[in-house]
Subunit: 434 residues, 2 copies
């Protein structure tokens, strides 16, 4: 790419109407001149060849991606010696770059798959001279946002639906996760609901399996839910995992509804973010998302896609409550990323409602304090599995330990002290120490 | 996980009917005992809690994933110092492990999203004590395969449709990729077809954009295709990219068909592999796949998912022709991976037809020899973009250079020598040297 051609991929040569542009942030490493590498990146993501042979035209002003800002630092060696070797670059002169790109979204419209194509497709991840690249953030203009419905309920809608105010919503993943009959699952969910659980959810591995067909499972869980509601006087929720082949999602939603489920879940990336958007148009209940497959893209810090990019896209598409990797070493995520997703869910986004963050990964009663202190507010969900369903006193005791964990916080009493008067919490602490 | 509990995640404790099991291969790194780490991996991917409290039951025999084989070697340091630090492991004792796992697929049935959930979801990518993990291969039992349609045409069907035998099929990505009116795109495709191009395809960035609505584009390209067929006496193909929100894929397919397109493309991972399976049931024309988004999962050698896993899943789902990262440094893939996808497309797979491999990335006339020599046969597609549409003699000359490149191979003449009598090929060589 000649120097004169590079310049057309920098924004200072245009006065941009930013309402026509997405802002995409990346970090990348290169041994080429950073300006050349950034220009090539923009070229590959947009107008790879911007004119026909012999025709006096230039598609870059209207269709070209443009560098808004570029900062670089020299680093002693690439973060990926493997890719560096593959690209046969000399290690002596490596630049780590941060770039913000203005992308004219009318190139493809307001379509999520096509956005993923340009932002994380061949153009970005196979651009010449770029050793490693990570898509770190995205910002939307108002005109783009207005094409999206966002969450149907959002945080306040979920709170109203459940009549839960001023505290985290307690989700519990039914365990054993695989192998229970619908009746057995309903029985332990009933126990947990009676102990204080708000939402009983199918594990992400659950499906419309022949050993637990969704229709029967939803029916059994719904009967148990209604009994628990009668018994406790509280509103309860059964959340059905309807992850399946994409053309089965709406039919499964309908089966879940006909049998009384009052929320649905998708393992979003396994069916595509677009499937949420499809479901959002169809569903009358909250939509929850699980993070399967995202780890293959998010866990390497110099490569792939940052968690919050997905969080933003899922909120746009219509996710009411987002399960994502939380504050636990095995979740292989940073505290910063966990906070970023909370912020992403709560940030002002035009008329788009707020999305409830549910940091996942071996949560228990003690997690409530960690999360509450980390976030500084109670607008989150907590999602134990074994801590409820493998609790030494059973699911009822496990769920009670969660409520007690919150009571301790509200009263300003350390949980170990509060546990002295509350056996469920005491046993929960002991279970964690095993 | 106690030693006695670990044992139930190893296959030697069962006699398995392998027709009920998928075989999943991984490489992973751990500082824990490799047997413990492998058992925990199986646990997290299947029966996270295999019995109810106080109930004498064990779901592991039927529902548990089981280690079939495990080999380990000590390595001086983890491939990911970042993840190692996050998991707070001592670097002194790191094992790199290869594991083959038998997975009872009746846990979820023959559903691709649910397969991705267990094989690349929270279980696999957030298993305790595992620093890095990469899903490297998958093998299907016959009972699983029989649920899938596979390619409708396959290689022999494509050859018959196009009446092209004994040589690679020449695809050309219309460039400029973004910004052309339908008529302008049709004009240059006509030129390329007349020069010898077989298939003119929309760029992966093309969509049903307002500046080039698919209906008008397909109509213009189809008129040009028919004129080119009349002129050359050859069969030609226009392949429409119908990547869009997932509920728009079938409607866009229909629009493409009504306007004469004779093949369709999806940027598969942006819409989910499941979308191919949906389209396969509906489409009467070949389905082609582009590799956008896969790079975020495949490029780091110790992490994510190996290319051939996706190739196999796409063949099952019904892809007739697969564009994937080819033999070019910027494609950030290994020669071994490029070959593995060719083998994957051609391997015997019950009644499932063969899938045409199309290694992508800045291909030109000279690539034909590289690919032919590498593969040892002509059952592949070659996919130039600029080499056809930015050829100094125009798209007609660019396409002619591709045919000449193949003629040289057939006659056993080095292309530089053959180029002496063939100006299009000569100029193609010079273009590459710019």
């Amino acid at each position: 790419l000649k120097l004169s051609d590079q310049k057309a991929f920098f924004a200072e040569n245009y006065s941009l109407n930013m309402d026509d542009y997405l802002q995409l942030d990346y970090i990348f490493e290169t041994v080429a001149d950073p300006h050349l590498a950034a220009a090539q990146l923009c070229q590959e993501m947009s107008t790879i060849q911007w004119h026909r042979l012999g025709v006096d035209e230039d598609f870059r002003p209207r269709f070209g991606a443009k560098v808004l800002s570029l900062t670089t630092e020299k680093i002693p060696h690439s973060s990926s010696s493997y890719l560096q070797a593959m690209l046969k670059h000399d290690a002596s002169d490596i630049h780590r770059c941060q770039v913000t790109i203005a992308y004219p979204y009318h190139n493809f419209g307001t379509r999520i798959p096509n956005l993923l194509t340009i932002a994380a497709g061949e153009g970005a991840f196979h651009a010449p001279d770029i050793i490693t690249i990570r898509w770190t953030d995205i910002h939307f203009p108002q005109s783009f946002l207005s094409a999206f419905q966002g969450p149907q309920f959002g945080i306040s809608g979920l709170r109203e639906l459940m009549d839960i105010h001023g505290r985290p919503i307690i989700f519990g993943v039914i365990k054993p996760n695989i192998g229970l009959t619908p009746e057995a699952a309903a029985n332990i969910a009933f126990e947990a609901w009676c102990g204080g659980l708000d939402v009983a959810i199918d594990d992400e591995q659950m499906s419309d399996a022949d050993w637990s067909p969704l229709a029967k499972r939803a029916e059994a869980l719904t009967n148990a839910r209604k009994r628990a509601e009668d018994k406790t006087g509280e509103r309860k929720m059964y959340l059905a995992n309807i992850t399946d082949e994409v053309d089965q999602i709406l039919p499964l939603h309908d089966i879940a509804m006909q049998n009384g489920a009052n929320a649905v879940m998708l393992n979003v990336m396994t069916v595509g973010i677009s499937a949420v958007r499809m479901l959002r148009k169809h569903a009358a209940v909250p939509i929850m998302s699980h993070f399967d497959l995202f780890g293959t893209m998010t866990q390497v810090p110099y490569h792939g896609i940052q968690e919050k990019v997905f969080s933003k896209l899922q909120r746009l598409a219509g996710v009411d409550a987002l399960i994502y990797p939380g504050l636990s070493p095995r979740m292989k995520t940073t505290e910063e990323d966990v906070h970023a997703t909370v912020d992403t869910g709560l940030a002002e986004m035009g008329t788009i409602k707020e999305m409830l963050p549910i940091p996942g990964g071996s949560q228990w009663a003690g997690s409530l304090e960690t999360l509450y202190q980390a976030f500084g507010h109670a607008d989150f969900g907590v999602i134990p599995g074994r801590a409820v369903f493998d609790h030494p006193m059973g699911p009822r005791g496990g769920a009670a330990s969660m409520r007690q964990g919150w009571e301790a916080i509200q009263r300003g009493i350390p949980i170990k002290q509060y546990a002295q008067q509350h056996r469920e919490l005491r046993e929960a602490i002991q279970y964690q120490q095993k």
